[in-house]
Symmetry: C2
Subunit: 174 residues, 2 copies
């Protein structure tokens, strides 16, 4: 599939609503459990998405447009939410994420990016040169894979209750 701004936008605008529908009102056992040491619960993932919305995606887009490869991106803190989410419940995190995402998408649209803009390059601190197109595609994939992660983490909570069935579910071993 070739990159398309509209197709990307379709995913980015859906994510907050999907999370809200998927996670609102669930028992804590579904949303607060993780996959083991150093892994994320669904609650942690929402905090992680919120943090990225504040400090990562739009800042990096701006950096590419303003500085190209002259000024590398800041490294991203994948564990910042463990501190930042403290004292906030899931619903609050989801609402903040939804509001920030909506604002960010209004801003993104206002840039009216053309093909030349999408070819512009920035400098990732670990990966080296990346294009704005790469960054936007990765934003979309980041949303989708974290929804996949959330549902996988939830599914694993029931592994012990499935009797012999887990052998038919390859995904439970990931």
């Amino acid at each position: 599939m070739k990159f398309s701004f509209d197709a990307s936008y379709q995913i980015l605008e859906r994510t907050p609503g999907v999370l809200r529908l998927l996670l609102s009102g669930l028992n804590d056992s579904w949303v607060m459990n993780n996959e083991g040491p150093d892994t994320f619960s669904p609650y942690d993932v929402v905090g992680h998405l919120l943090h990225g919305e504040k400090t990562d995606w739009t800042i990096r887009i701006r950096r590419i447009l303003d500085h190209g490869t002259a000024m590398p991106f800041e490294p991203y803190d994948r564990f910042a939410q463990f501190e930042e989410s403290k004292g906030k419940d899931l619903l609050q995190l989801m609402k903040e994420f939804e509001q920030l995402r909506n604002e960010n998408l209004v801003w993104l649209k206002s840039l009216k990016l053309n093909e030349d803009d999408l070819d512009k390059k920035g400098l990732h601190p670990a990966l080296g040169e990346v294009t704005l197109r790469n960054l936007l595609a990765t934003w979309v994939v980041h949303d989708l894979t974290h929804i996949a992660q959330i549902t996988r983490v939830m599914a694993k909570q029931y592994k012990e209750e499935m009797g012999p069935w887990p052998e038919f579910f390859r995904i439970l071993s990931f």
Copy 2:
């Protein structure tokens, strides 16, 4: 996490709405592409969920309650949707799934299953003895893992557009 009827119901009742919000109105590139030969597209997964709703979950619950281990489950056809979905668009499949799921959940609740019922056993044609509790937990996990699959399949469509980023996304190699 211990099995709970209410916690299970929370997931089963959400799935049709989550799918509708996630998939309605998307470009065909998101919903009709798969992960390679003999894999499912999001469209195929919805057809698969619909087929399960018609021929699998409730029939097997009934079978356990009526016959115990005396009459094994019918084998489940994991590829039936390739035939059954023909001529139907995604929205139609999602609507049929939502309606059938709602009907099945009304029926499920009407059974007023107690702990003794959940301990009742049936015979899986490949896995052997399973309890009704195992079956219900597996129904829930089946929903969740197929949402995980759908979002993973969608994410993979953009792998080529991410430049060097896929190496940070373990899930894209599954």
